[in-house]
Amino acid sequence: MATDLRISNVSKIYPGCIANDNVSLQFKSGKIYALLGENGAGKSTLVKILSGVVSPDNGEVFLNEKNLKLSSPLDAKKNKIGMVFQHFNLFETLSVFENLSIDATEDNKSLRVRINEILKKYNFSIDLDVPVLNLSAGQKQKVEIIRCLLRSPKVLIMDEPTSVLTEQETEELFISLKKFCDEGILIIYITHKLKEVLSLCDEVAVMRKGKVVSVSQTQNERVETLANKMVGQKLAKIKKKINISKNKDEIFKVKHLNFYSDDPFETNLVNLNFSVKKGECLGIAGISGNGQNELFQILSGEIITPDTSIIFRNKEIAKLNPKQRREYLMAFSPEDRISQAAVPELKIYENVALNNFKSSNFFEKGLVNEKKIKEHSKKILSDFSVNTDNVELKSQFLSGGNLQKLILGRELITAPELLICYNPTWGLDVGAINYIHETLIKINNQEKSTILISTDTEELLKLSDRIAVIYKGKLSKIMPSEEVTPEKLGVLMGGGSID
């Protein structure tokens, strides 16, 4: 039976921002729809309305001309709307089967039979009795999808599904989605990755600032046209930068980096060795959870490992803490903006004071020099075009992009010789991503070095001079980036090998 989902004049207003402004959209089964937009464009709110997490202030949702009252996620399930969120809702220590049986309404025996049918039908290979923590991200996502399929959904909503997948897993996902679509499930695919829209979807709706700005057939679109619609302005294309000469001095050298942890949620690192030259960007690719967290913390000095040698500008720094490493002109931008790089409850200038480098005099004789910190913060806000000049503002009111600019600004204003960043553009919109990429290229051009740990292959290929892949705590061979293709990276990231 054909499914017809209609959103009619839906509005949702949060204090100080209109998340959805009179949104009307129509979806019919047999097609894959993309919902495209920057962060804060209103995609998530719309999806939350469809999945019953949020109630709209105005407007209605119709499924096959039936007016849906979606006041809880349970209502969405009842109405056969399935949702796979970007962050998996699975119990890591329970088995796959236990996870699937939690919200099932049948006995375990028939459930197992039905799961096995689904596995067979879509060619999924998942062991139902292993704990979820042993699964790869792609497999976890499949478990989430199975959970939806068990309820024979009419609508399946996928929220940024590829952000943690390898190239191969992404391809597999696309094949499955096309299959679902052929079977009459209406698929709504939420993303900000333009290429995926073009390769997977039939129709694309672009949202900007809470409004639907365009609905079109993907065959009539190109990456550039979609990007322009999404951002609402012409994007300056970043030039792939010129590789710098190879005979530069090594500024940073890591030898025998080993890390062993008793915590099963941490990854052990096995004998990493690498070096970075002056003005070079070393990219470290990998799917998250393969040791990047641990690596970043060891490089920044948050974790001190015995027997590791880290030479920076001819000095041994392996035993130094982050503050001391900063004094040697290193800078760090962690992945977690909200609970590590900055504290949302603190004011902007207080967050700036976290980088208390030696010449800053932020804290003279143990006392807070508020005036100095604020002056310095103002400079960062204007130099790195953060969209506020109020240093007293609590950081929680900054958007992700602006917070990241603030953090990068804080780290870069000391003109460090080496910046180590981990997923610097994670979850940001195109405008902010471009800004940050430009900044990272600029510091390389100023003969400063960077180590870019990222799960975004496109970003890595764009910015790195050399790339290595981290997989299960081991580092691959380091390759010049012109020899690397997305496919090659995908193979390495998935644990394969290339020659």
């Binding site: 809880s72 349970l74 049986s101 939690i102 919200d103 099932a104 309404t105 920044s300 000095g301 948050e302 803490n321 982050p322 503050k323 001391q324 490493r325 900063r326 760090f332 962690p334 977690d336 609970s339 590590q340 790089a341 900055a342 504290v343 409850e345 603190l346 207080e350 004071a353 976290l354 980088n355 208390n356 804290f363 143990g366 006392l367 807070v368």
Partner: protein
């Protein structure tokens, strides 16, 4: 933000209401009983002086604890630090039991602070270097110091002319906190508490140490990332906390008590935890909170006299304050919704 400082008031109101209900169930006129509890004790000068007397150690300890709690260190053993401070300070006082001199009291005070500090360092060192849980260690050390005090007052330090009562000699006049007013028990120890308030405000909001404490309390990950010396900070906040508790202990034995015996503190060290949270870990909030909680001590005593109910109702009230405070903090941002679920949806 405004709500954050408002919830303590909600908690206090709910506590009073809850107390009224309890009195009603016990068969008293709740209004009358609450009046005996909260108004009678402070209706005269003596009562007010007693209120300040009880608020002093509570305020001092809570100020110290706020350093720990703000930085995510859960020092539960202030009672032990108080006791140990009193033992060390009391030891010095006994050394000078038959002497007079202006220098004696300052010596006792310093000794008491150092005593509390040393005792607080035990859980801190164990935490930083051996990864133990400071909650357990600091709590268990309370009983260690109490038993030590017990041993001292019945054994080596007991008053040779005291007919084997478990108490030491009376301290000499030079070992006593000067009284502020003739006939009232309120003593100069209150200035120690006020000084601690001012000093802690300065340290918490104006110094690098305070900044580190603030950041560590909000996010330990950030503190680590910024490269704060986590271990040093843990030791310092425990030392501050212990010193304050030790001072409170010294204030008690050199103030109203005048000697060492088994019952030098009606669990001030534990009650101060409530004070610290009721005061929102804010130095000035703590002054207010210490007065409120001190009143529950006084009210319990009056209630015992006039209503013949045990003075342990004071602890009931203190418990209710903490309970309602935590509950209103937790539930304030919750929305109540009645859901009806079909049976089969509840099955799993």
């Amino acid at each position: 933000m405004a709500l954050y400082f408002f919830t303590p008031f909600i908690a206090i109101i709910l506590t009073i209401l809850g107390g009224g209900i309890i009195f009603y169930i016990l068969g008293f006129n709740p209004i009358e009983a609450l009046k005996f509890y909260f108004l009678t004790p402070i209706s005269n000068l003596y009562g007010l002086s007693e209120l300040l007397l009880k608020a002093t150690p509570l305020c001092l300890i809570a100020i110290g604890l706020s350093f720990c709690f703000k930085s995510n260190n859960w020092n539960i053993g202030a009672e032990g630090q108080l006791t140990f401070g009193a033992i060390v300070g009391g030891g010095v006082a006994l050394l000078f039991y038959n002497q007079e001199g202006f220098y004696i009291l300052p010596l006792i005070i310093i000794a008491g602070a150092i005593g509390g500090m040393i005792f607080a360092l035990i859980p801190a060192i164990l935490k930083t270097y051996f990864n133990t849980n400071e909650i357990l260690v600091s709590l268990m050390l309370v009983y260690v110091s109490k038993l030590l005090l017990d041993y001292l007052v019945v054994g080596p330090w007991s008053n040779p002319e005291g007919f084997n009562f478990p108490e030491t000699r009376q301290f000499s006049d030079s070992s006593r906190m000067p009284l502020l007013f003739e006939g009232l028990r309120i003593h100069t120890g209150i200035f120690l508490a006020l000084a601690a308030v001012m000093l802690s405000w300065f340290v918490l909001y104006k110094t690098y140490l305070g900044f580190q404490i603030k950041v560590s309390g909000l996010s330990l990950k950030t503190a680590k990332y910024a490269g704060f010396k986590g271990k040093t900070m843990i030791l310092v906040v425990f030392m501050i906390s212990g010193a304050c508790a030790g001072l409170a202990g010294v204030g008690e034995i050199t103030g109203p008590i005048g000697q060492l015996h088994r019952m030098i503190s009606p669990d001030y060290g534990f009650t101060a935890i409530i004070v610290a949270f009721l005061g929102r870990l804010n130095p000035f909030g703590i002054i207010f909170a210490s007065l409120v909680v001190a009143l529950t001590y006084l009210g319990a005593e009056t209630a015992q006299i006039f209503l013949q109910i045990p003075k342990y109702t004071g602890q009931v009230f203190q418990g209710m304050i903490l309970f309602f405070l935590l509950a209103s903090d937790y539930l304030l941002f919750f929305k109540v919704k009645i859901l009806s679920l079909k049976k089969n949806e509840l099955r799993h």
